[in-house]
Symmetry: D2
């Protein structure tokens, strides 16, 4: 399956961007609560992996709760913006919009976020969320959002 | 603080709508994982309460992870639509958009969702999310989304 | 029909806010192109009226093009934010999201925007769009968006 | 500049999809009012071109009104969905979300829409809007929206 977001090459301004993201992810209790782990971290790009378990289910058996998809994807957007931030910056998500495309079923869900336009005042990013079911990937949600540095 | 969504009076088509919502909420593992509870359930209106605890925190100390706000608010939108559905219907969130207004700090977060326009093909709803801090309420996020009956 | 956004009372920081909005509206060629006029202008609140004419139609006869609803509502959001801005500030729309609820038919369309949360860095606002058909109002679209002062 | 949406290959179910889109575009008065023209039409893909003229300006000189970007991009989303529809189907935009990335300046604006997920009940699509200024393209807005067949 073709990705529906496409990498553009951005330069990290803080050479320690990877450590910054990893530290922020480690400090994030909510990511720990649902069992999410950090994947790829490149300038403007972050993946978050979520192994599927019983406690992530919606009220329909076998289908992961959409809110948990939003949760990892929202976080991936924020961390993607953080890879391009100045040292010491803390960002927050100003807003995002998510479309759910298919029920998320399988063993793992992966949110892949990419910065579309970095900026001093706002950074705009997109994300795709895929579910991996018996080795087959399916696009289950897409996002678009705005991050603001503090 | 004045509510920014306003109740319109809708009629429930299924007199058992309250039981339907409660059963769906009970079956929802993700709501249980984060510790959310069901509040008001009226035709077209659902509140979800989330007592704040350590494991809901973002990477900034004392500030609840935005994704958890999205999670309860997204669910509140879906359950609000469900109060107006035919017996036996199962709905899902097609999409939503959330704006974060202020950092969510305090002892409890409450998502209040209201149906704006119910329909056979799509139902549109809005939600407000408030944080309760030492008895004072603050609007921390607003949502708008589309629910689809199955 | 009850409004689905609710006025909160905001204070204008620039006593000339009304003139600022009227001047900006006058200077706006796109508003003139579609024939839109400025209605209510209060602190945090702006209405834009659009008399319906043949050239606003979508490809379905009698139904106003959704993009023109977006156009007046987007502008109403921006002008509502402008009523609360410092003297000399120019704002722009960072993003918005619109849900179309019903086909817009009738003699006039009115976009009513209200600021939900003003801020130095971002202002968040909501809007309702109504169509007036033979004296009867129908809610045809709702918006939520972010404005940024420059 | 790299595109931030990526073509996936969809099959048109109606071999006359191109004529369907061209007829709908021709019938669309609002597109004519602003001076938009139809560009590429492929299965799941539609471009709309908008030559910039004085009457499209916002209240800031030289900057195209964001609402007109929304208008062509919203239409491009709808027509992209229409390329994949059954014969006789009429679609409408249920909702969209737009992020403005940069002021739109130049001689032409182009909205490029691609279907991400077609479906019987809903089709989800993304769009990029570019401004062409003295031969140089700049990404000025991105969209994500839902189309519904009628």
């Amino acid at each position: 399956m073709t990705a529906s977001v496409v990498s553009r090459v951005w330069q990290a301004r803080n050479p320690e961007y990877r450590a910054v993201v990893r530290d922020a992810f480690e400090a994030n209790k909510a990511m720990s609560l649902i069992g999410a782990t950090l994947g790829v971290v490149e300038p403007g790009i972050v993946d978050i992996h979520l192994p599927v378990h019983e406690m992530l289910m919606s009220h329909v058996a076998g289908i992961v709760h959409g809110g948990t998809l939003g949760m990892i994807a929202d976080s991936a957007l924020g961390f993607a913006a953080l890879t391009l931030a100045e040292a010491g910056a803390v960002g927050f998500t100003a807003e995002y919009k998510i479309n759910f495309l298919s029920p998320a079923m399988g063993q793992e869900v992966i949110a892949h976020a990419e910065v579309v336009k970095p900026g001093k005042r706002t950074t705009v990013a997109r994300a795709d969320v895929r579910a991996v079911n018996d080795g087959e990937e399916r696009l289950v949600a897409i996002l678009q959002g705005t991050l603001i540095p503090l």
